[in-house]
Structures are given as C-alpha cells and as structure tokens.
Amino acid sequence: MVQLSDAVATASTPEPLALPGDGLRERVVQQLRDVLGEGLVDSLVKPGDDVWVRVRPEAWRAAGFALRDVVGCQHFSFLSAIDWMPSPFGRGEDDPTAPPPERSTEVRHGYTGGDARFQVFARVTNLVEHFGVTIKADVPAGENGDLVVDSWLSVYAGANWHEREAHEMFGIRFAGHPDLRNMYLPTEFEGHPLRKDFPLLARMVKPWPGIVDVEPLPGGDDPNDGTTSGTTSGTTGDTEEGGE
Amino acid sequence: MVAADLPYWAQSLLRVLGGTVAVLLPAGTIVYLFLFKMMSFMQSRLGPMEAGPYGSMQLFAEVGKWLQKEDIQPELADKRIFKIAPLIVLVSTFILVAVVPFGPDAWFTNFETGVFYALAVSSVSVLGILIAGWSSANKYSLLGGLRAAGQLIAYELPMVLAVIGVVIQAGTLNLQGIVVSQNAGSMFGWDGLGNPYILTQFVGFLVFMISVQAELTQTPFDMPIAESELVSGYMTEYSGFRFLIFFIAEFANVGVFTLIASILFLGGWGIPFSWFGWTSVDSIDNWMNVVGPLIMVTKMIVLSFIVMWVRFSYPRLREDQLQRFAWKVLIPVSLVNIMITAVLKVMF
C-alpha cells in the first residue's frame, strides 16, 4: 500500500516507479500466469503504456483475487462488458424505408482475441507502481443461451454497481451477486440496450439528419425537393442537456 | 393615564389595533430590512429592486402572491388540525405581545407576573408546530415537527433560567417594573446611563439570546425547517395563505422576542430617568408614550439584526449536538449565573 504520510499535505511529484519500456507489465503477465496457469489465455503488453490479459471464464474470479493480492492492483476502476458482434443496423444511418443493406456479421475481437460474442472486461489499477491492467474474459452462452460469469463482489466491493449495470445492459448474469436489480431502466424493461442487436429506436423511426441533411446548391436541382423533409429539424431527442 | 379617559370599547379597539401593529410592523421591518436587503448585501447582490423604490413594496407583492395561491391540503392530512396549526403559531405571537410595555402608559396589559406569563405563552407555538408536523401526513413534516418539539422544549429552560437572573436583580416579575428599575437604577452611584441589565447580567443576556435564536428556529438552530434535509420541515405541505401565516409568525416572533429581550436587558422603552429628573413611573412626561415605542423599535432592530446576522452566516447544528449544547452548556451556565446573582443580591 501507499505509505501514509503523517503530514496533512505531502510533497508532490515523486518519480513514478513505472518507467517507460520497463519489464513491469511483463511481470504482471508472468505473475498472473504463475497463479492462474492455464487460466490465462492471452496477453498483450504495450511497453510503457498498458497491458491487456484475457482469462478463461472459470478463472475470472481467481484472476480478480490474483490481481488484487499478487499483482497489487488495489484500486478498482471499472467493470463492464462488450458485445463483439457487429451491429446489424450499422451506425443507424440507414433509410428506414429502404430494405436494410447487407452487412458483414463476422465477429472481430479486439486485443487478446476471444472466442465468444460477449466478453466482460475490467480495469484495476496499482497505485504504488502506477499502472493499470485491463482484464477480459469470454462469456460463453450456456445451454438455453444464458450468459453467466462469476461475480467480483467478493474481490472488489465496488464491483457491485458495475455488475448491476453490465447485467441490465448486456444480460450477463453474475453468479454470486445478490442483487442484480436494474440500475437505470424500469424493472419491467425488456431487452439489453447495449447489445448490438438492440436497435437504437431514435435512429430507426426517422432518417438520421446527418445523412439526409444535404443542402442543395443554389440554383441547382434539388434532388429531394422537400419530399424527405428530414432537414435540420431531425433532432433525435436523445441529446437533451442535463440541467444545472 | 391616557387610556383611562376613553370608554372601554375604544380602549379595546385601540389595543387590538396596537397589538396588530406591534406584531406586523416588526415582522415587515425585519423581512424587508434584513431578509430582503441585508442578506442580499451580505451575499453581494441587490435583493428585490423592482417593486417600489429599492424594492420596498416587495413585501406587499409577496403577500399578494401568496394570497392568490391555491390552498393545497394533502389528501391524507388531518384536515381540521392541519388548517388551525398556523393560526395557533400566529396567535401565540399575539398573546405574547400583550405583555410588552411600549411606554409608561403605552401597554396592552400590565400583569404583575408579566415575565412568567411571557415565558409561559411563548411555548404555545410549539403546539402549533407539532400538530402542523403531525397532521401533514408527511414524513419530512413529522421529523420536522418532532425536532421542533424537542428543540423548543430544550431551549425553553435556559431561557427561563436566564431571565431569573434579571428577575432577582429587579425584584419584580412585572415587565414594566423591570424597565423602571433599569432606568432608575445606578451603577456604583452614577446614574447617567441607568443600570441596563446587559452589563450586570451579560451571561444571562448571551444565554437568553442563544435560546431565543433556538426558540425562533433560526440558523444555526433551524433543524425543524432544515431545507436541505427535510425540504421544509413542518411547513413542507403548507402553501399559499397558510404558509404566509407561518412566515409572518416566524418573523413576528423574532420581533416580539427581541422586544422582550430589549425590555429585560437593554432598558426597554425607557431612557435613564436622571436625564430629565424623573423619579418614578408616574412622574414621567407624557411624550414618552410616543418616544418610548420608537426607542423600543430601535432596540428591537439592533437585536434582530444580530439574530439575522447569525442566521445568514452560520451553518446548522445537528439535532443531538443542539440538545447537548442546551443541556450541557446553557443550563449549567445559567444556573451558575442565578447562583452568583442571588449571592450578590443578598450581599449588596
């Protein structure tokens, strides 16, 4: 842990222990491999920058303990999930009246690869040696399609809300979490909004003005001739401001 | 005796009018002078400026606004009690002002035991607040009402004890008598200033003013209202006219309590009798009945300035800290004060 200073204010700018190009992040991977063995699937180290590791879903909680106790990442930053399937709706800029265009459905995973459509990932920070670790795990669909992974609640108490959020947004169940109520959405809400196949309705019911808002050249032919009329008025209602 | 020359109905009418003025005028003055203007200047803003010159008519605009508003009653409220609660609070102010003497003959009633009466009826408002909190059927109101009850009862005691010092020194429970004994008195044989009890009873004065601050539920003792915790405490469900009554009662109470404080500790309406060679209350010139109230109002404004100043600058205590302060600090201090006063009274 950080040395607690007795004085109220501490002098600033001690040299960070993590220096660029160090063996520090490789050490993290090595330590995790020592603990988890086969549980560690893949890793990626960008020297002096960041480190990613991917563990087997069974090793998810063990990896959490290893990160906390062995690697020394005491500080919990966040936990979330990611849906690697490309969105069938693209970026929501299709004309809703036209038939949907063909899109690639090939799943391309990010760093450290993956085998499943869903991954949970979390980031924890080592405050002593000044580095963060991003850890991922596949969430394979079980029989009848439910996604389950171990909860990190016993590792980091702060994972509580993050897992609730991931549960409602992705439909991933965290085994061992006592209270997976919805955080944001009404209890009876159906669907998991951050899944890629969940349509963003604001973009579905009305053409996105970014596409149709093409100002005609003065004197030139107006190809739309006011028929689409989706010009500047097409606010989608999802960008409302937070009041003071 | 001016009043003795009038028929009884005229006296009664005068008293009613005078009582109304004595309640509403201080309230209006305090609201405009302190709540609107002084607070604004302390907070680097101008305050109301539109209604009348320097916003002086703002008060009437506010009253007009409140009178127009809908009188909302919660469905589950105990309606009858809910309606009379603000009136009880306001009435306690009126019956309190009844004992305040404004001049040698300008008084409403002249009880022999005026101090006793004043302290007794000042706690009637607790009832109003408590039933307002209970009958609103609102949890915030309930918490506010209970807090108010606890607080007002706790601070009643140091207030009474602080006054006892004055009573011992004056040798009378009559408020008029206390005024006379201050102005006719002398300090070590010098009677140029009379003997205002703020000098001899300074500890009592401090305890009294702190208790008054708490009785009036002004910050730092405003937990019953505590707008950041309890929304508006016992007043949460009140709107329009009834809220206005609470509002008037709050500031009228400030006025009346500071009037009483100025009587007890600052010499009330009087000026030192030695200046004009008066010896007793009967020998005072008749013009004092006009000047006396002005002197009273001046003293009231000074004291309520202090009350408001504290209100605008202090954060709020917590309920248990407030109780601890009353029982562990104020009451022992005022008891010691009574003891010392009594000993000195016997010795000299």
């Binding site: 501490t10 600033s12 960041d50 966040f78 991003t134 980091y156 | 954060p315 248990d320």
Partner: protein, 390 residues
C-alpha cells in the same frame, strides 16, 4: 487511523443494534424515508431510500437512473468528432474536462499527438473547468449545511471563470472545443491577462470560504468524524479524486501517469488528508481549487507558441485498437475505454465516470448515521447526476 476504523465499526454496531430493535415486536416501527428524486440535497434526481430508526439510518439504498441518457449506446452511432458534444453533458459543471480523456484516447489510437501549445491550453481549460466545478461545490456545501451565504459567493466568482471559458471556447457550459489533434481555436487576445486577474479573485474566494465556512466551529463539528471512509474501503469501491485522497491515498492522475498534457512541465502539490471524513473531503477540494488557480498561473507563464492543431485527415478514421485513457477530472478519475474497429465511429465506448464509483459506496458509509449527516456525507462525496447516470 485505527481509531477511525473503530469509529466506523461503532457506527456499524449501532446500525446492527438499530436493526435488531426493528425486529423486536411492539417496540418501535422503522420508517422508510425517500430522499429524492426531487429533494433539495440531491443535486438533481438521485433517490436514496433510507430505512430509519428514529433519526438513525439503518440501511440506505441509492437508486440512480432518473437521468440515464444512454451515452454508451449513443456513441456507437456517432463519428469520433461527434462524440465530444455528447460527453460534454456527463459532468455538466466541468464540461471541458469530459472531452479531454476521450480525445486523448482517440489520439492515442490514431498515433497523433497534439502540438505543445494545444496541450498547454487543454491543460489550462481543464483546470479552469475544475475551478468552475469545485467552486460551486464549495458554495453548495454551505447550503447543505444550512449556511446560505457561501453559495452566492461561489456563483459570483464562478461567473468569472465561466466568462473565461466562454471567451476562449464560445460555450459557457458545454465548450465542445477539443478536437482530435488539437483545439478548435487559439486563445483570444487579452485572455491571458484576464485569466491571471480572475485567478487572483478565485484565490480570494477560497480564502473567504475558508474563513466563513471551514473555520466555523459548527461546520467542523458537523463534518469532522462523520462519514469516515478508511482507505482500504475507498480503494475497494474504486473511489477516486478528492474522495480517495481524503482517505490518505496519495494518488493523482495528473501527476501519476504519463499523459500528453502539460502537467509534467510544472510543479504542483497534491493534497492528501489522513482522516477520510467529510471534513477531509471538503478540505481537499478547497485546497485543490486553490492549487488549480496556481497551476493555471504557472501554465500561463510557460505557454509555448506554435500551432494549436496537428495535421489530421479531414475525415477521421481511427485505426483498429483499444485504449483506456483517464484523467483526474474535478469529480475524480474519468476514463474512456475506446474500442475502435477502424471505422468512422467507435465500436464501443465504456465511460468510467467518477461519481458512479463514488456514490456506490453510499450504502456502506451511510449505515448508522443520522439523517442530517446523510446530507453532509452526500455533499462531501460530491456527485453530479449526469456523472452517475451517464
């Protein structure tokens, strides 16, 4: 430190006792109190359900989501430059600070670095939004405790800072000024001189608040020893910013990470406090506001000349990759985990906001405290609804 933990244990025992009393028949009946969603103390629409025994909290459960705007979903249908106008609205008191980490993440993926002048101006604006944000906290703190005067001072002096931000960026609350590769524009003429004067005023304001509020005995007894968060717990819950430093953890992302901002070019102090109570959190913020004004002054001294925009393609496509960049925002660590698949827009953006973590500790820290302390603890944790709900 040990006695503080003991205190926390005591309050936990008190909560247990209160709990036990609730279960005894015919003795007391607990009361469930909804603080919020519309309540003067919740800065928006946070709802906290507290179970009371008398005025003591048996348990508390914050319920967020009344302002959820779905930014993580919305970012997926926008291009990289468009995202900044969304994320401006996350922490609406210090908007510019929201843009910076996202732009830095995008730049990191693209391998672009903003020119030095842009980095310095970014840092200056970043600190200005910290001042605009935290100065309001300092005033609002008074209101939560019943002192009504500080908040007007805060609004008065915050106005100067907002004017500065407006004259530099064109937007008072939502600048939307940061671009991938630099900034939209250079600073206007005379801005630097004015900024120095405003920083002097803000330091004055800090002194005023310190005298009026922090020196007040009532303020001290209301906040000292209340809502203690030991550092182990703070780390577990992922607290960040002033809340973490108030628990004695010496961690500041401005200093402790390599980031293309100008923080490493100047010397500044990171304030910590060993107590971990409400007072410590408020005190740290006061010191940080003052420190931020000094940082701005120092940055203005060394502001380099040069362009404010690097060469970036007109249509920005971010190469495939993942990056997490976080900065020390006014509320704490704010980071964006950006996943790009070589498209015009991000594939997934995970927004790590500070208040989300900071508020998730509320059920833990509110056990066994009194209702008035609920308010002071919430105020001292300092959250902004947009920052919780995203």
């Amino acid at each position: 430190m040990t006695d503080l933990v003991d205190r926390q244990k005591l309050s936990y025992i008190a909560a247990q006792a209160a709990d036990a009393r609730l279960n005894v028949e015919l003795e007391t009946e607990g009361m469930t109190l909804n603080i919020g969603p519309q309540h003067p103390a919740t800065h928006g629409t946070l709802r906290i359900i507290v179970r009371l025994d008398g005025e003591q909290v048996v348990w508390a459960d914050p319920s967020a989501g009344y302002m959820h705007r779905g930014y993580e979903k919305l970012t997926e249908v926008r291009t990289f430059p468009q995202v900044t106008s969304l994320i401006n609205r996350i922490d609406w008191l210090g908007s510019f600070a929201n843009e910076v980490p996202f732009i830095l993440a995008a730049e990191k993926l693209m391998g672009v670095e903003a020119p030095p002048r842009a980095q310095w101006i970014r840092t200056i604006l970043f600190e200005l939004s910290r001042i605009a944000n935290v100065s309001l906290f300092l005033g609002d703190l008074g209101v939560q405790l019943g002192a009504i005067t500080p908040v007007f001072m805060a609004f008065r002096d915050r106005e100067y800072v907002l004017n500065l931000i407006e004259s530099a960026t064109g937007g008072r609350f939502h600048p939307n000024f940061d671009r991938i590769g630099g900034l939209k524009d250079d600073l206007p003429k005379g801005w630097i001189l004015e900024t120095r004067q405003v920083m002097k005023k803000l330091r004055n304001f800090c002194d005023e608040i310190e005298n009026l509020l922090f020196g007040n005995a009532i303020f001290q007894i209301r906040t000292r020893g209340i809502g203690i968060i030991p550092k182990e717990v703070a780390l577990q819950y992922g607290l960040s910013g002033a809340n973490l430093r108030a628990s004695g953890v010496d961690w500041d992302l401005r200093r402790d990470q390599k980031i293309p901002l100008a923080y490493d070019k100047i010397d500044f102090k990171v304030w910590t406090h060993p107590d971990g109570d409400s007072f410590a959190r408020c005190w740290i913020r006061l010191q940080e506001t003052r420190e931020a004004t000094l940082i701005v002054d120092k940055l203005l001294d060394g502001l380099p000349a040069g362009p404010v925009m690097a060469k970036v393609p007109r249509i920005i496509k971010v190469p495939e990759g993942e990056a997490y960049v976080s900065t020390e925002n006014p509320l704490g660590e704010m980071g964006y985990y950006v996943v790009s698949q070589g498209d015009l827009g991000p594939f997934r953006v995970k927004i790590r906001t500070a208040s989300f973590n900071n508020i998730s500790i509320v059920p833990w820290v509110l056990r066994g405290v009194f209702v008035p302390d609920v308010i002071t603890i919430l105020a001292s944790l300092y959250f902004i609804l947009g920052d919780i709900d995203k």
